[in-house]
Every structure is written in C-alpha cells, then in structure tokens.
C-alpha cells in the first residue's frame, strides 16, 4: 500500500505541532531558569521579565495592552473564568445568551448553569451555520448578564460577527465574551478598536504546547478571579506561573503575527485546492459552512451515504490525519451538534470530514490526499446499502 512517509497532519483545529523555534525558546526555562517568577532572589526574579515579555508578545497579536492579558492553563479555563465572572458581576442578571454551535467548553458550562437556575438561550444557525442575528437581537435583554459567541467555529471554520454582537450586548448592559481559540493567529484581531470584554485563546492551537492559554480582559471590565489563592497575574489568576508554557505562548503568538498574512493567502490557497480537488473527484460531496466567511485553514466536507469514521480509518492507512463529526468518532452516539444545529440532511450528517491545515502543510501533501480520497469514497459507497439508485 502506498503510504506517506511521515504523517500528513490535517487536524490542526484539534491541536498543532509545536514550532521548533518555540521549543528552543522555552527549553531553558525547564532546564536552567527554573526559578519562581514571584521569588525575591534574583535567580527567580530574572524569570519575571521574560514572563512580562511574553505578555507583551501575546498582547501585540490581538491588539491589546499587556495588562489586559492573563495567562491561564487552557482555553476552557479562560471560557469558564470569563462567563462565571460575568455572572457574579451583577447577580440580578440571570440570563446567558450563547449559540448552538459553541465549543463544549462553553456549552458544557451553560448546561451546568441551567441546572444552577440560570436562564440560557441558544441562538440558532441556518444551513450555512450563520447565526440568526434577528433572534440574537431579541434574546439579548436587560436581564442578560453575558453574551458568549465564538469568533471562529472549530468544526466548520465559520467566522462570526463578534465586533457587532459585542455592541448589541453592551446596549443592554450585558458583558461580551468570545471564544477565539480557533481564530487567534489565523485572522487579524484588533481588540483596541473592539468593544469586547473577554476573549479566550489557547496555546496548542497556534504551535505552542498544550497546557497554556490566556484570556483578555478589557481594561475597566470587572473581573472576579476564577482560581483563588496567591497574588499571581495581578491577583486575577492564582497559581504559580507556568513559565515555560507562558514563554512558549508568547513566542508562538509573535511568530503567528509574522505568518498571519501567509495563512490568509498561501494556506487558504492550499485549503481551497484540497476542497476543489475533492469536490471535483468525489461525487455526492458537499462543503459544510459558509465559504464566504471562514477561517483560512478549515474545510468541512460531507460525503453522502457513508460514515465518517470509516473514511478517517481508511485515510489513516495512508498516514493521513483528519477528523470527523460523525457519531462513531465522538464517543457519543449522536453526530456533531454543530452539523445538527445547521439542519444537515440525514444523508450527509454522518459522513462529514474536517480537514484543518497549518503553515507546515505542503502542496504535495494536499495533492496526495486528493488522490487518495476518491477511491476511499468509492469503496465505502460500494459497501453501503444506500445511494445506489441515483
């Protein structure tokens, strides 16, 4: 069997390869400079300035001030901290408005909030996964504490109009949070000109290691700490700083800034090449999401009458890594909540594959995958009892 020599990694919305330059920058903080940034002695104290430099690097990528960046352990922590803080901020406001296509880091929390007696409303999306803005406007009322809408969707890559939604939230005195874990580093973000209160980001989605994230809290926005204890991170997030992770995140975000233009031209071109190639060679394939406003690295394609896990495992035989919204891959029995929210036809719902690229992918890799897809789809259709009449 003809197989790629090393993995062709097209699952970058799940996690990314750590940039070797990032590894170089962080390693001394694991080996030599292991001091505690909060220590009085100079051995530990010298670490502090590197943490502050990372904060500046992080702030620069999203157009924020350094003091508006708080380092956390992951995107989920940032999401939880922001939403829970907003609810504590004005206890008379008992309503949360979010969307049906959020990441589980937000949706899971919202389900718990419902059990705790909060009122949560979920904005629906249309067949392309676009938010129904009319409903959103109606849902946000004067008893809304926080509106949380993601910047870019992890499954379809859809980009949501967060600048606009932040303004609507503020008209009703609600705070606005956005989960920008997929968007940071892939699309330009300028928080200086935005009315966004909280933004979550994660290191391992942009070539830093797992276990480090950050949140942006706009200057002047009240914030109640989530992890309580020591004075770290301006007293807003207790716990000894993950110094190597923070240094890595800073470096990765600086590098992301350098590549952001390339991501939106070259990587988007490769993504389009992959998408067009598959649509051309595989009958019964459709793109899920909104091609007019999408992250530059993501394409989500459904194949009629076959099932996603089978496609992934056959791709795996060729050393190609992708992901699927099918029930069988999720560990639950239901297919992707995002695709279901979009009202995808039953024939398409179980056969979705997500390809998400990074700057490390090459044209040869993309062409290899295009070449392998058609026979895989054909083979699985032969095995399937459906779709033979048409």
């Amino acid at each position: 069997m003809e197989k790629a020599d090393s993995v062709i990694y097209l699952d970058n919305n799940a996690t990314t390869k750590v940039d070797p330059a990032v590894v170089d920058v962080m390693t001394p903080f694991l080996t030599e400079w292991y001091g505690n940034a909060s220590s009085v002695h100079s051995f530990g104290g010298q670490v502090r300035q590197h943490v502050e430099k990372a904060r500046e690097q992080a702030a620069a990528l999203v157009g924020a001030r350094p003091e508006e960046i708080i380092f956390t352990s992951c995107g989920t922590e940032s999401d939880n901290a922001a939403i829970l803080s907003a609810l504590e901020n004005d206890i008379r406001r008992r309503k949360v408005v979010t969307s049906r296509v959020e990441h589980p880091a937000v949706l899971g929390l919202c389900k718990v909030l419902q059990q705790r007696g909060y009122h949560v409303e979920f904005v629906p999306v249309n067949r392309r996964g676009q938010l129904c803005m009319d409903t959103l406007v109606q849902m946000i009322t004067d008893d809304t504490a926080v509106v949380s809408i993601m910047w870019g969707n992890n499954e379809t890559g859809n980009i949501y109009p967060v600048y606009e939604i932040a303004e609507i939230a503020h008209q009703h005195g609600a705070l606005f949070h956005t989960d920008a874990v997929q968007a940071v580093g892939k699309v330009p973000i300028d928080l200086g000109r935005a009315d966004i209160d909280f933004l979550s980001l994660s290191g391992h989605k942009l070539h830093a290691p797992k276990g480090v994230g950050a949140m942006y809290v706009k200057k002047g926005t009240p914030f109640n700490q989530f992890l309580i204890g020591g004075h770290q991170e301006f007293g807003l997030r207790a716990g000894t700083e993950n110094v190597p992770g923070i240094i890595a995140l800073g470096q990765a975000m600086e590098t992301a800034g350098e590549y952001i233009e390339q991501e939106n031209t070259e990587m988007a071109r490769l993504r389009d090449r992959l998408e067009q190639g598959i649509l051309r060679t595989c009958p019964g394939a459709r793109v899920n999401g909104n091609p007019l406003s999408r992250l530059p690295n993501t394409t989500n394609i459904s194949f009629e009458y076959i099932e996603g896990e089978s496609i992934l495992l056959m791709l795996d035989q060729f050393n190609v890594a992708a992901s699927s919204g099918s029930a069988c891959t999720s560990g639950s029995l239901e297919p992707s909540h995002v695709l279901r929210a979009m009202g995808l036809a039953e024939t398409l719902l179980h056969g979705s594959v997500r390809f998400s690229l990074s700057r490390y992918n090459t044209e040869e890799e993309i062409d290899f995958v295009i070449e392998k897809m058609a026979p895989i789809i054909k083979r699985l259709r032969e095995i399937s009892p459906f779709g033979h009449d048409s």
Partner: protein, 300 residues
C-alpha cells in the same frame, strides 16, 4: 480513536462477501440513515433449502459495523438455517477477537439482521423484515412500543438484549442497543426496564426455591442449620436492633429450640420482649426452618 483489534481492522479494510445477491432467498434489514448505521443482509440457500449457501452484506456505518457484518456473513455461510438461528451477537464479537464495549451495538445489529432474514425464510413475516422500527405488526404484548425515539429502539429489543447479554445498567444498554445514547430522555425508562427484569428474575428464583422446599427436598443438616441461624441473626435481625440501641446474641441451639439473649436497650424494655421474640421467631422460621422456636435467656 478506538482500540480496534487486528481482526476488526482486517474485516474493515478487506470485508468479506460485500454486495448484493441477485436472487436472494431472504433479505434482512436493520437500521437506517438517521441512526448512523444500517445493515442489509442477503441470504441464498442451497437446493435443499435448508443450508445457507451464500451470505452477502451492505453496510452503512463505522469500521466496527462493517467488520461485524463481514464476520456475520462468514459465520452464517455453510450453516443450516436452524444452526444460523442460534448465532448471537457474542458469536460475532468473539469471531472478531474483541469489540470495544461502546461498539457492541454493531454486533447486535448483525444478529438482528440475521434473525430478520431467518424470520422471512420461515415465512413468519411478509416481505423485507425490519427489526427495531415502528413496524405495523400485531403486537399483543405491547413490547413493540418505541422506548428510544432518537434511535427507534423498541422495548422488545431492549429486553431481549438485556436478557441475552446479562446487562445490568443503563450504560451497558446504551453500548449494546444505542437506546438512551441520544437525548438521554429515555434513560429513566431503560432503568425501569432493568429494575423490572431484575425483579422478574428474583421472583422466578424465589419461586423455584420455594417449589424445591415445598417438595420437602430441602433438608438442612444440623451444621447447615446452625450456620444459617447464626447468619440470619447476624445479617437480618441484629442490624435492625442495633439501630434502636439494642442487640441480640445467639446462646444455644438445641434441636429446633433457639436460645438468644437480648441486650442493651431491648433488654431493659419489658414490653418489647414478647413482640421481639415473635418477630425474631418469625424471621428465623421464614428464612431457616418453619419448626424453630425462640426462647430468651434472661439476664442473670
């Protein structure tokens, strides 16, 4: 990713007997597009119409669904119809070495398709047999009611799978039948079925024990009787008394005469004695031997 065995991967990547049989003697169909997996099984018999000569399949589903169907056709081919009717989902899972627990429903789907096809062969149902759907068949027991609407699973199927695989909790039922794995709204219903079936099993066991007893067959040896009395007092009687600040101690057993000593709060409560003696006696008669009498050794 799932931890599939080599054999599962082999049957997924190189499935045996894929396709349709042009003039099948029977076709069994399970599942549909909405559920996320479906299996169509074709059977062709030999000239005697007793032996399955050829089995082929078409599957829509994940790797384990395809592998299970492939295994099913290998197992069924060459068997007589009666032998094939005995095949269970366990046989399919065993043939494949192992299936992840969460994927057991794929093997159940194989068994159901085979049963549906065999039903057709025996003329028990007209046309293409469909199991697990809201069919229009006459259903005097009411067992074909849908329990899980997300995956169209009937009470009959859930009961059958629970009994065949000795399932004990809702999670297992989800893994084997998918019922309850969608919105989760029917989980209390499934729990009720599990409880009911457990109750039925216990009732059956009790009746069986009683009928043996009633036949006079169950005669305890002295040693068995003594240890059973001690056990009954320790486990059934003493805990209740201790909860009220009292206690009971077994002093002696002489034939059918059981001597006990009441302690603590019970001992200093005269009015309790008679009721207590009767209650202990009744309990021992019920659980050990109906000829037993209880006497109390008094303090001092």
């Amino acid at each position: 990713m799932w931890d599939y065995s080599k054999k599962v991967m082999d049957h997924f990547l190189n499935p045996r007997n894929v396709g349709e049989i042009e003039k099948p003697d029977a076709v069994g169909e399970v599942g549909n597009l909405r559920c996320g997996d479906a299996l169509k099984l074709y059977l062709r018999l030999d000239d005697s119409k007793e032996r399955i000569e050829e089995a082929k399949f078409q599957t829509f589903g994940c790797a384990s669904a395809i592998a299970s169907a492939s295994a099913l056709t290998e197992l069924a081919a060459g068997k007589t119809v009666d032998q094939a009717a005995e095949l269970t989902n366990d046989d399919i899972a065993e043939y494949l070495g192992s299936l992840p627990e969460e994927k057991m429903h794929c093997s159940v789907m194989g068994m159901e398709a085979l049963q549906a096809a065999i039903k057709k062969l025996r003329g028990e149902s007209p046309g293409v047999a469909t199991v697990g759907d809201d069919g229009g068949e006459y259903d005097p027991e009411g067992l074909d009611r849908t329990v899980c609407y997300c995956f169209s699973v009937t009470e009959r199927k859930i009961r059958e799978v629970i009994a065949a695989n000795h399932l004990e909790n809702v999670e297992e039922v989800i893994h084997y039948t998918k019922a309850g794995g969608g919105c989760g709204g029917c989980k209390p219903d499934i729990q009720k079925l599990l409880d009911e079936m457990k109750g039925e099993r216990e009732e059956k066991a009790r009746q069986q024990a009683q009928s043996e007893e009633g036949g006079g067959k169950r005669k305890l040896t002295n040693l068995q009787k003594i240890s059973l009395i001690q056990k009954t007092i320790d486990e059934q009687i003493a805990p209740g008394l201790r909860a009220d600040g009292g206690d009971i101690e077994l002093i002696d057993i002489d034939g059918d005469r059981v001597v006990v000593k009441l302690q603590g709060a019970c001992a200093s409560c005269p009015s309790a004695h008679i009721t207590l003696k009767r209650w202990v006696e009744a309990k021992l008669r019920e659980l050990v031997d109906e000829n037993l009498t209880v006497e109390e050794e008094l303090e001092g």
